[in-house]
């Protein structure tokens, strides 16, 4: 029998429907793969084998009766940011020690409703703050990819590094992830996987640990464009429990995948051509445009003049919202508590011990920019800049552009423990330079693997779409996937 874990999600679905194998066998294959790989990759922070096998058994019963849902029997990994009832939910932070929610997030509920099976919870940067998955309380995740001729460990990107690594290393058929500034798309690009951040409001934020509420969106990471589309259809949908959830019908995203790009206009923003951009990224970008043109798209140069201000504005807005959201971790309601001489002492000691350095740094920046006398100069200013960033995109779309093509990241995956990056917080932040604009404008963005660098490491392209037009992104990403026609699976060393 072929290795069941190597099947795409779409093929696993077909195999289950055709009764070529059972959901229990498929789940068992993934659980074995996790057991073998996790000591090396550290992608999972909690594995739930009993629950997984129970869910798989229930799926087999449904499949036997021909009553399977759209994801019936498909084993998924869940980012530790999603509330899962009775199961480890700690945002990979020490401060949520032992937290097991009494509720289930809407997105995961939607996946279980459609028949999916939960394998466990995936590692991530603490509270989704990071671009390398090195800020996790549970230690860094290791990228399944290594540079040719090297045994050095590389980062999988962040913050959804566990999700990306697990999908790439065949430790789940697909994974949930979240994206506040690039946390789905950057790790997808670093691991040769497909990741989409939907339009803000498409997926419910209810039951997902909050980082920056006006930017956070859930989305899938998967091994193919079609797999990502299948997961997205299940994850999306209106939810009365999230006041920013949008009441729109959810299309069958998978039906859009083979639609092609004939007649579409693809925008190429000149501001994304950064000084010192590596030649291989530049080449990848041109190649992507050629592929889209060959399939009937028109390419148009556009200008998004406020691009360079997106990242600095983000580093005001996101920490401000984080400082407010993370005020709830006080040692009273859940998680870690460090006793002190009085209540304030308890708060301060608990938060000092429970939060990691990156999280504390961002809470402090957020506290500062929201403090009396600085609010207008920082926060209001940043929100005005955000209006201008959004307007840049609106102008491009009004000018006839259907989607925008950019590189996903400024480089391929870098090493675990990179000293230059550790010494300079801003250098690490630059990883999100191409992705963060999309969150600031609330738009959908997809990262799709498109090539490899000189050392055989995957590189991704990003497509940015109009609000709620994820279908065009799936169609265009599929053209890139098909045209690249490359094997983006890692060479198994673990």
């Amino acid at each position: 029998m072929t290795d069941l874990t190597k099947l795409s999600l779409a093929d696993a679905r077909k195999g289950l429907e055709a009764k070529s194998f059972t959901a229990t066998e498929l789940t068992g294959a993934y659980l074995s793969a996790i057991e073998k790989a996790n000591p090396s990759l550290n992608a999972y922070v909690a594995v739930t084998p009993e629950q997984a096998l129970d869910m798989a058994k229930a799926s087999d019963e449904k499949l036997a009766k021909g009553q399977g849902g759209p994801l019936e029997g498909i084993p998924l990994g869940i980012k530790d940011l999603f509330g899962t009832k009775g199961v480890h939910t700690q945002a990979a932070s020490h401060i949520l020690d032992g937290f097991k929610p009494e509720y289930e997030s809407t997105v995961t509920s939607n996946l279980w409703r459609d028949g999916a099976v939960m394998l466990g919870k995936l590692n991530m940067d603490e509270f989704a703050m990071g671009s390398s998955n090195e800020t996790s309380y549970y230690g860094p995740v290791v990228n399944p990819f290594r540079a040719e001729g090297s045994n050095a460990n590389l980062v999988p990107g962040g913050s959804s590094g566990g999700s990306a690594a697990a999908v790439s290393a065949w430790l789940c058929a697909g994974a949930t992830a979240t994206d506040t500034g690039g946390s789905i798309r950057q790790p997808a690009a670093f691991t040769g996987t497909v990741g989409i951040k939907p339009t803000y409001g498409r997926c419910s934020r209810w039951g997902v640990v909050a980082f920056a509420s006006s930017l956070d969106q859930a989305g899938p990471i998967a091994r193919t464009v079609e797999d990502a589309a299948l997961m997205m259809t299940s994850m999306s949908g209106y939810d009365v429990k999230d006041s920013t959830s949008v009441d729109l019908a959810v299309p069958d995203f998978a039906a859009a995948v083979e639609r092609g790009v004939k007649g579409l206009t693809i925008g190429v923003p000149r501001e994304y051509r950064m000084d010192g951009m590596p030649a291989e990224i530049e080449k990848l970008w041109s190649q992507g445009l050629e592929w889209l043109k060959a399939e009937g798209a028109t390419v148009k140069d556009i200008s998004l003049p406020h691009t360079k201000y997106a990242l600095p504005a983000y580093y005001i807005v996101a920490p401000a919202e984080a400082s407010s959201n993370l005020a709830r971790y006080d040692g009273v309601k859940y998680g870690l508590r460090v006793s002190g001489k009085d209540i304030t002492d308890m708060y301060e000691l608990t938060r000092a011990a429970g939060f990691g350095r990156e999280v504390k740094r961002r809470i402090m920046i957020g506290t500062y920019v929201l403090s009396a006398g600085y609010f207008d100069a920082y926060y209001v200013k940043a929100q005005k800049v955000r209006t201008l960033i959004k307007k840049d995109f609106e102008d491009a779309f009004h000018g006839g552009v259907d989607a925008v093509l950019t590189p996903a990241t400024p480089s391929a995956a870098f090493g675990v423990g990179d000293e230059a990056l550790a010494a300079d917080p801003v250098a690490m932040y630059l990883n999100d330079i191409f992705t963060v604009t999309v969150n600031m404008a609330g738009l959908p963005g997809i990262a799709v693997p498109a090539g490899k660098d000189g050392k055989g490491l995957p590189l991704g392209l990003q497509l940015i779409g109009k609000p709620f037009d994820e279908e065009t992104l799936f169609a265009a990403a599929r053209v890139i996937e098909k045209s690249a026609d490359m094997d983006f699976s890692p060479k198994q060393w673990w």
Binding site: Y309, L311, P312, S339, I343, R351, M364, T387, G442
Partner: protein, 95 residues
């Protein structure tokens, strides 16, 4: 704008995060690096620009003022480090 050591301590106090004297200088350096980075926003002309309040053009929904949830205090406190009779327990706050 940059922050001095006293401001770093004040921010930490406002954020209810204990930082030790030995940590102040490194936090100061990191916060100033970030503040230096965001400083470039001063170049942007925002005259007459509305600050963004919602990325999607929508008004926040309202719902009927009715009780739709609740009645499970035991579940609410089930993750608390310290609770008694379905109350969260904290150090004494009033003398």
């Amino acid at each position: 704008m940059s922050v001095d050591a006293a401001t770093v301590k004040r921010i930490a106090r406002l954020a209810r995060i204990r930082i030790e004297e030995s940590e102040v200088a490194s936090y100061q350096g990191e916060l100033n690096a970030i503040l230096g980075f965001v400083e470039q926003l001063t170049e942007v002309d925002v005259e007459g620009v509305e600050p963004m309040t919602s990325v999607t053009p929508m008004a926040l929904r309202r719902r009927d003022d009715a009780i739709t949830d609740g009645g499970y205090a035991d579940k609410i406190v089930s993750n608390a480090p310290l609770s008694e009779d379905n109350f969260f327990m904290v150090p004494k706050v009033v003398e």
